[in-house]
């Protein structure tokens, strides 16, 4: 394994540039339409997190780590999980049981906004899966490219933002 990945391939980089919006939009479409089509939080989250993988194929690990802050992704995952529990607790605050749907007048069956609290919990799950799987992918890529003599000391790697951004 090389320590420095040389990523100067023009074809792979331009394909990653062009397919990244398609991956993100497809992922968010599947998350949004979770109640009326096969899909939902987990599937859409994984599709959107594949955008991270596309970026890695195009730009290498140094490109990713300067663009995405790994520590913040780790925190946002916990925010997504707490949001899920909070939406489920709305039922207890309203006097019913856990996970109760309390937005009753949400529209007819088959519309986009028709499932009440389930839609909110779906977005929370999609957000959590997106950040969680993205962080997991980045961490494994970092571990694989680390080299033989460095030991992992348990901290999450962060890198300073470089000048010039991604389109070098």
């Amino acid at each position: 394994m090389n320590k420095k990945w040389k990523r100067d391939d023009l074809i792979v980089r331009s394909l990653a540039d062009n397919y990244l919006p398609i991956a993100l939009v497809l992922g968010f479409y599947v998350i949004l339409h979770g109640n009326i089509s096969p899909g939902g939080g987990f599937q859409g989250g994984v599709l959107a997190a594949s955008g991270v993988l596309l970026l890695y194929l195009g730009y290498g690990f140094r490109g990713i780590a300067t663009a995405i802050n790994m520590e913040r992704m780790h925190r946002l995952e916990a925010v997504g999980a707490i949001a899920y529990v909070l939406f489920a607790m709305l039922g207890i605050f309203a006097g019913y049981n856990f996970c109760r749907n309390i937005l009753w007048y949400s529209g007819n069956i088959g519309d986009l906004w028709s499932s009440g609290t389930i839609a909110l919990m779906n977005y929370a799950v999609g957000f959590k899966v997106l950040t969680g799987v993205g962080f997991l992918l980045l961490l494994v890529i970092y571990l694989l490219g680390m080299g033989e003599d460095e030991e992992h000391d348990g901290t999450i790697p962060t890198m300073e933002h470089e000048e010039g951004g991604l389109s070098k």
Partner: protein
């Protein structure tokens, strides 16, 4: 407090642990904040469950909680239920106490590790997953929480980066544990295919009318799956690896809490869902597995050189006691098994915490290198002695009471059925108890008494924040041993009644009268009356012990004048070989005690030592073979 208020408490207890895990992730590097959040989460869970003792255990209510208010429609359960009866609350309290003590212990203990950020997240998720299993009333919910618990346990086993064996232990644990999870999932799928519902209460009402070979296969798979999680006989080598490699506060959870979920699953599957414990073949099978677990693990423990691996093997042999006692299907047997479960969590937790204290102070758990630590760490030595006497069944500690109930239960079963097999089971139980005592004498001599090597001159007593949880657990050990009547009346009695009261469980979930209308046979499994245990009052035993000790001391003082003087070389161990030179260190350590006993059994011990080869494929082969044998046994006899 009305029913409407405390019916939310089980869900809030589970969610407090999970939310605590997520908040700890947000706190990052700020250690004080992280400790406060973790401590608050476990204390909230413990308080909420303790408040439920009065309604559920004393008054005998069963709390049924449907998530999202999806009540059963037309006699058909369509929602996910949480159902808390006395048995669930018993296991929930056990879990909450162990988690709370170990959490306060680990605030100081993990200062020696790096990568501390992820520890409390995984710890609280393990606790939340276990709480979810014991309080749940839905079969697939149990499977999901089982997987959450397994991941957290594997992650915590691989936690230490300075221990080179940790990742290997975690890998083996993951591979063999996934066999158990797959068996539970397949059993759940087959049960759903027959009953078209996943609610435990409705399944236990519907199954007896629909027994066919698919259901027999489902029962064998569910039993093996939960047995794998409780580390019964062929799945035990991974337990030894995992306990040895994990941090000690996590070993408390794996041995005290994780295995009890396997026992809880076996009780629910055998006593509630399939009601197969009344069959003689099933009782024989479970008692046989329990006896083999007991005996094999206690003999394997004689060979060990590592403190925590030895404790792990003893842990599995005590689980063998619990499985034997539950397999008898009498009220006394069930009560003995449940009492031994809570005793095992308390004294095994105490022993693992003392092992952790030794590791924290000296940096090693290898028995050959340690010695004579009682002079520098007297309180830790006293706590270890309390734990060792409890596990060997010496009065007045708690192990004596529950082991006496188990002996009495097996003996009465032998006299009831007239078969010699159960008398042999009693003999095996007593022999295992003696070997356990021998093993702990060996460990005590190796680690705490005797002579101290020079490199440990500077060890200090364990810090105060680690000692307080250990004293709390020791106090609970002594309390449950000295006042067993309180335990029987308030805790064990209602739990045993709940195991035998399946119509009440079904009625609480599905509405009144459902059980009577749907169940075709209403024969009970065992007489639901609790026999008196006998006239062995533990306080009398303590007085007898003190009197005998005083008499022995008096006799030895009186006889000192007449003892002859013998001139021997200053070091009797090595003087013969070194021409009378004085050696500095002559500690009789673990390999030297019981040398003759081990030499006579060297064929058996050598075979067992080679069989536990350490290769992943071998352990998987044992697991798959056990699955095949149990499936064939169930098809042949049911």
């Amino acid at each position: 407090m009305t029913y409407d208020v405390y019916m939310h408490f089980p869900v809030l207890a589970i969610m407090a642990l999970f939310v605590g895990a997520f908040l700890v992730t947000l706190s990052g590097k700020r250690e004080v904040l992280r400790n406060i959040i973790a401590g608050a989460a476990v204390l909230i869970a413990l308080t909420l469950l303790a408040l439920l003792i009065k309604p559920v255990m004393v008054d005998g209510e069963i709390i049924t909680y449907w998530m999202g208010n999806w009540e059963p429609v037309n006699g058909y359960a369509i929602g996910i239920a949480l159902e808390v009866d006395a048995l669930s609350l018993f296991f929930g309290l056990l879990v909450a106490i162990a988690v709370a003590c170990s959490c306060f212990y680990s605030f100081q203990y993990i200062r020696q590790d790096d990568a501390r950020g992820g520890y409390f997240t995984l710890y609280l998720m393990l606790a939340g997953g276990v709480m979810g299993i014991v309080l749940s009333g839905d079969l697939f919910n149990i499977y999901v929480m089982l997987e959450v618990m397994t991941f957290a346990a594997v992650g915590l086993t691989a936690f230490r980066t300075w221990n080179p064996n940790a990742r290997e232990a975690a890998f083996k644990y993951l591979v063999v544990g996934s066999i158990g999870s797959s068996c539970v999932l397949l059993g759940t799928a087959l049960v759903y295919a027959q009953c078209h519902t996943l609610n435990l209460a409705q399944i236990s009402a519907l199954i007896p009318g629909r027994m066919n070979p698919t259901m027999v296969l489902a029962f064998a798979l569910l039993f093996t799956g939960f047995g794998c999680k409780s580390f019964m006989f062929p799945f035990h080598p991974i337990a030894a690896d995992a306990h040895g490699a994990a941090p000690s506060s996590v070993s408390v959870l794996i041995s005290g809490v994780f295995t009890k979920t396997g026992v809880y699953g076996i009780i629910r599957v055998s006593y509630f869902l399939f009601r197969s414990m009344g069959l003689t073949s099933m009782q024989t099978g479970l008692v046989f597995i329990g006896c083999v677990s007991m005996f094999v693990c206690v003999t394997m423990a004689l060979n060990q050189h590592d403190f925590k691996r030895l404790l792990a093997f003893h842990s599995i042999s005590q689980i063998g006691y619990i499985l034997t006692s539950l397999g008898l299907c009498t009220a006394l047997g069930i009560a003995g098994g449940l009492y031994h479960a809570i005793n095992h969590t308390l004294f095994k937790g105490l022993l693992f915490l003392t092992a952790g204290a030794v590791l924290y102070a000296t940096g090693t758990t290898y028995l050959e290198k340690l010695g004579g630590l009682a002079r520098k760490m007297p309180q830790t030595a006293a706590l270890f002695l309390i734990g060792a006497f409890s596990i060997s069944g010496i009065p007045p500690f708690n192990g004596f009471y529950s082991k006496w109930m188990i002996y009495q239960a097996t003996f009465e079963k032998a006299s009831e059925t007239g078969s010699i097999g159960y008398a042999l089971v009693t003999v095996v139980c007593v022999v295992t108890s003696v070997l356990t005592l021998a093993s702990f004498i060996k460990v005590g001599q190796s680690v705490f008494f005797g002579q101290m090597p020079l490199e440990y001159e500077n060890v200090k007593e364990t810090p105060l924040s680690m000692r307080i949880p250990m004293w709390i657990m020791a106090a609970l050990c002594v309390f449950t041993g000295v006042a067993p009547n309180i335990m029987i009346n308030y805790v064990i009695g209602p739990a045993t009644g709940a195991v035998l009261n399946f119509p009440g469980y079904i009625d609480a979930a599905m509405g009144e009268g459902y059980a009577a209308a749907t169940i075709t046979d209403t024969g009970y499994l065992a007489e639901p009356r609790l026999l008196t245990i006998g006239a062995w009052n533990p306080v009398n035993w303590l007085l007898l012990f003190v009197v005998v000790l005083a008499a022995v001391f008096l006799v030895s003082i009186l006889g000192k004048r007449d003892r002859g003087e013998v001139n021997c070389a200053p070091d009797s161990k090595h003087a013969v070989f070194f021409g009378g030179e004085e050696s500095q260190y002559s500690h009789v350590a673990s390999g030297d005690l019981f040398w003759g006993f081990k030499h006579n059994l060297r064929g058996y011990l050598g075979f067992m030592s080679k069989a536990h080869s350490g290769v992943t494929n071998d352990y998987v082969l044992w697991g798959v073979t056990a699955l095949a044998v149990i499936i064939l046994y169930c098809f042949a006899f049911m």
